[in-house]
Amino acid sequence: MSPTILLRTTGRVLRQLSHDKRTIAMVIVLPLVLLTLVYYLFEKQPHIFDHIGIIMLGVFPFILMFLITSIAMLRERTTGTLERLLTTPLHKLDLLFGYGIAFGVLAAVQASAGAGLAYGAFDLQTAGSAGLVILIAVADAVLGMALGLFFSAFASSEFQAVQFMPLVAFPQVFLCGLFTPRDQMAGWLHALSDIFPLTYAVQALQEVGAHADPTALMWRDLGIVAGAAVLALALSAATLRRRTD
């Protein structure tokens, strides 16, 4: 790996985004719109928004980053830029971490905007700090991105890539504790949710919601999310083959 190449690759991905104002606007504004919708849905029961709002702050970045990363990586494959990059001195990890950092920056902006709206306008109540909420949301975004990079290897068209979103993201969202507390789920669903990394992101956010100081469980869960992201990145490195048929 080379720090210069990593930095230039990060810059290149951010520059591509900067030429695509509509995507940036959607990434930032869309979660705000959905959050607003949820707020008014539970306007009469603010304690429910405290419960759901904080989870949504973690789920949005996960889903959106999964989607845009898998499409971005698919484009690298289908337009031949990936094959070309792999004939240059660029290391696979320069490319993967370049995407990771660039989209991580975007996710931080997105999470801050979401947290700003939830705390500022909708009076979200959490025992812990907003900074921790943003930190976990960014880790979540990086996890979504890493899974997106990995699953894009199995899609040969943008149609297929989009379908991986419901396949990979929806079950994790359903079972993460957003709709039903995990301890009320059937045994096999509970077991399934145990192996989904998003579960731990949501649990970490709930810990911040319930405790004034960061708890050991929160740090452990954050570690699991980060570990799952690193694992997915390593697996995606294995899908980047220099030699193909």
């Binding site: 810059g11 030699r243 193909t244």
Partner: protein
Amino acid sequence: MDNAIEVRDLVVVRGGKEVLLGISTAVRAGKVTGLLGPSGSGKTTLMRAIVGVQRVRSGRIDVLGQPAGSPALRAKVGYLTQAPSIYADLTVKENARYFASLYPGITKADADQAVRDVGLGEAANQLVRTLSGGQHSRASLACALVGKPTLLVLDEPTVGQDPVLRDELWQRFHALAAAGTTLVVSSHVMDEAGRCDRLVLIREGRIIADDTPEAVRGSADTNDLEEAFLRLIRREEAKV
């Protein structure tokens, strides 16, 4: 070193079909070698094998004294794919500067020069997706030239270019060769064959001719290269 590339008994199978059937050839250093043949003859596959992105069944390719695809070669080999492979949502200059940043010792000024070298100085700040087809492939070419490679592998670099630009590009290729760069250029247009120092004609995964344009004309007993290739192909078929 006389040979920049040595190919021995190369067999490549793609999708269950043998695309290259045990070919052997050598590419002289500091020359422009033309790879000619109809679409589907195996030109692109051979080029991909040379730059080390093609999985090969058997045989051996040495590039600049090392096995094709060796990490040490990545800073020395420039590759232009047949379909332009650059970022459509970046400007021409941003593309060239990004690819420049991947090579040690290559500066932004080098990148801007490469853009001018392919005649895109005026369009440098244009987004690639707004370019015409010919400009798009020249922008891609700029990104292959930018690393100042020792070996340039160019897959159909002049397709869709206007005749004046095509002439300029060929002059540039020869200037690069004169400065010591080895070039492998594929084409399916026979009028470009005469511009090469050496020719390799591929048909259905086999090499039919591998010589200088003069020698190819001589062996087929005609001055027209198109006609020469036709005669060589018929002669080959008569043998079978």
